[in-house]
């Protein structure tokens, strides 16, 4: 799960990680009022779930509260386009108004799960303010890493090692060590999957703060973090994806016109792949999962066909736990209720497959059956020509 910069900073502040003074504003008036209190010089930052906001015009310095108000008025309601949003951009609904600070240097900190080492890796680099993938590609020797031992947490000597490698001294060194240890506490305490401080600011006065903060969270852990779960911004997600999540369906909207519905993530990905090989374009990823109910199948089919880009559907079900007859009943019910006219190709295998095929055949609907993944993909693609 993703959250906004201002929310990440709220979380970090709770753990004692130093952030600039700042507040979120949903109107230009509010932005002016905040700037009046913490300014006069402030930075107005558009809040969207994407990076590259600065280059896209979403991060601007204001010398006075009046300027802050004007900037906020322009930003709030705009479609901000960055290299991470896609050409349509994302609508800005609020801005973060923060005190402007004197930048001495910009560093980088990132925490992520290293799957190969099966541990959290804390990365630090002197190259802040740039995309870390670029640094990794061009100057990997400037990325310093510490792997966290499970149960021990990030140890003070590890934080010191990183701070020494960043070239910090005196007060900035001490603050950076404290920052790192608190940041790790925040990461583990919230079951984060990513925490990126880019840039980590060192001011002329030697203060160390998070100028930007990005945090992503382990979806599997959200049930034990209701406060984090409450930070979810539904406006940042595609409406169909939000609808699907209500029924615990894994749905991701893509660009094509062949809708697909599959049981199992690996098989769903493979189904998208085979549609492409048959010359079609998948409209979505949709995994109805192992323990799915008839009602969920009903909802899944509805969501699938309510995408206006979908001109045909491929249903690929290999019943292990999932019963083919239950899938067939659910799909038939949904199609009847919706008066579905788009072509639907269904491939069923596994538990109760014959009963499932019977239900489809007797439904009176224009569903074609297919016997293997290749046949199913080729059939739906040809029906759409």
């Amino acid at each position: 799960m993703k959250i906004h910069e201002y929310q990440a900073k709220q979380i970090l502040a709770r753990y004692g990680v130093r952030i600039p003074r700042g507040e979120v504003a949903e109107t230009a008036d509010a932005a002016r009022e905040i700037a009046g209190r913490i300014g006069p010089r402030v930075v107005v930052k558009a809040q969207i779930h994407a990076g590259g906001r600065g280059k896209g015009g979403g991060v601007k310095l204001a010398a006075t509260p009046a300027e802050a108000e004007a900037l906020a008025a322009r930003m709030i309601g705009m479609q901000l386009v960055t290299h991470q949003t896609g050409p349509e951009g994302k609508r800005v609904k609020r801005v973060l108004v923060e005190e402007a600070l004197d930048i001495a240097s910009e560093l980088y900190l990132g925490l992520v799960i290293d799957r190969a080492r099966e541990a959290v890796v804390v990365m630090a680099s002197t190259e802040g303010g740039i995309e870390i993938e670029k640094v990794a590609a061009e100057k990997p020797e400037l990325i310093f890493k510490e792997y966290v031992a499970a149960g021990a947490g990030l140890l003070a000597y590890q934080a010191r090692r990183l701070a020494f490698k960043l070239g910090l001294e005196g007060d900035a060194f001490k603050q950076a060590v404290k920052f790192l240890l608190s940041l790790y506490q925040a990461f583990e305490g919230t079951d984060a999957s990513l925490a990126e401080i880019n840039p980590l600011l060192v001011t002329r006065q030697g203060d160390v703060l998070a100028l930007d903060a990005k945090m992503n969270f382990d979806d599997n852990a959200l049930a034990r973090h209701p406060d984090i779960r409450a930070m979810r911004d539904f406006d940042e997600e595609s409406p169909l994806e939000v609808e699907a999540s209500k029924y615990n369906l894994n749905y991701i909207k893509l660009d094509g016109n062949v809708g697909c519905m599959v049981n199992g993530a690996g098989l769903a990905m493979a189904t998208m792949d085979i549609i492409k090989y048959a010359g079609g374009m998948p409209a979505n990823f949709l995994d109805v999962g192992g323990g799915v109910t008839e009602d969920a199948v009903n909802q899944a089919f509805k969501i699938l066909v309510s995408d206006p880009d979908v001109k045909g559907a491929l249903i690929n079900i290999f019943g292990g736990i999932v019963r083919c007859d239950m899938i067939a009943s659910g799909v038939v019910k949904a199609a009847r209720a919706l008066g579905t006219t788009i072509p639907v190709v269904i491939r069923l295998e596994g538990t109760n497959v014959d009963l499932g095929k019977k239900i489809l055949a007797e439904s009176g609907l224009a569903f074609s059956a297919a016997d293997g993944m290749k046949e199913a993909a080729e059939k739906i693609v040809s029906l759409l020509k």
Binding site: G151, S193, A265, G266, D273, F318
Partner: protein, 292 residues
């Protein structure tokens, strides 16, 4: 022959009295698996599906000589169930549960370093040695005893591969689901080692997907040390970057972990890579006939 489980493996089902546990334990028993006990804290002393239920794994091991556990408990209790199993000294722990937080698994893997247990999963359909035993939820009827080893991160995609292999006339020695999560127990390399030493396995089918580097690491091992034929398929060739495709571990992060990258690594290692998921069985046939 087979790896990990056979008709002699004695299994305790954790969560046997729950809905999932009851349903799948029953299917396992019908398949021929030696389910010797169940474990549900608080239900010790009762009987369920014809076997004794214990409060702890250690008691089940003591009383029934169990050497493997099957875990069907909810996500926030599952890591604990894995550790209890390992602590009780069983050799094999198969954790079916999906939804375990990543941090819990980091702790589990650290805990397991000092224990003899081999972990399969989590988020796996389980392990099956056709004709002998299954620990998990896979449909037994699509499998057939034979000489092909299967290692996969998927559930139903594994069934698809198994069915194709069976229809080509090849049975399976053992099919193992390593699980769809980012941090799991045994991965490809450890299982390839077991298959290497299994005289009853003549070739391996390796099913992977986007996310992480397990397949790339496997490719390096195959090149250096594995001489039996390997067929590979990687799902997610059309997956967009940065999105979690169902499985917690199926995500292309920072440009890394793409299907194309993995396929190239496997091909370079001499693996016969099936580009289309419909060609897994046919690719196996080709790989084996070329050898003969």
């Amino acid at each position: 022959m087979s790896i990990l489980i056979d008709e002699k493996t004695r299994v305790v089902v954790l969560g046997i009295t729950g809905g999932e546990g009851t349903f799948h334990a029953q299917k396992m028993i019908e398949y021929g698996t030696r389910v010797v006990a169940g474990m549900t804290p608080g239900k010790g002393g009762t009987r369920h599906l014809g076997v004794p239920v214990f409060n702890t794994v250690a008691e089940a091991v003591d009383a029934e000589g169990a050497d493997a556990t099957a875990i069907f408990v909810p996500p926030y209790a599952a890591a604990d169930a894995v550790m209890e199993s390992a602590d009780a000294g069983v050799g094999l722990v198969v954790c079916i549960t999906e939804g375990i937080p990543t941090f819990d698994m980091i702790k589990v893997k650290a805990f397991l370093k000092s224990k003899p247990a081999k972990l399969i999963g989590p988020n796996t359909p389980g392990v099956i040695s056709p004709g002998k035993a299954k620990i998990g939820i896979m449909p037994g009827h699509i499998h057939a005893p034979g000489t092909i080893g299967i290692i996969s991160r998927s559930g139903t995609l594994t069934y698809e591969a198994v069915q194709q292999v069976s229809r080509q006339g090849y049975g399976q020695s053992t099919a193992v689901g390593i699980g769809g999560d980012p941090i799991v127990g045994l991965k490809y390399i450890e299982l390839l080692r077991l298959f290497k030493d299994d005289p009853g396995t003549e070739a391996v089918v390796l099913i992977g997907e986007i996310g992480g580097t397990a397949e790339d690491e496997a490719a390096a091992y195959i090149q250096a040390e594995f001489s039996k034929p390997v067929v590979g398929f990687i799902a997610g060739q059309t997956a967009p970057p940065g999105r979690r495709m169902g499985h917690a571990g199926a995500i292309i992060a920072g440009g890394k972990g793409t299907a194309q990258e993995k396929m190239a690594a496997l091909e370079a290692a001499g693996v016969h890579v099936a580009v289309s998921p419909a060609d897994i069985g046919a690719t196996l046939r080709q790989a084996l006939s070329r050898r003969a």
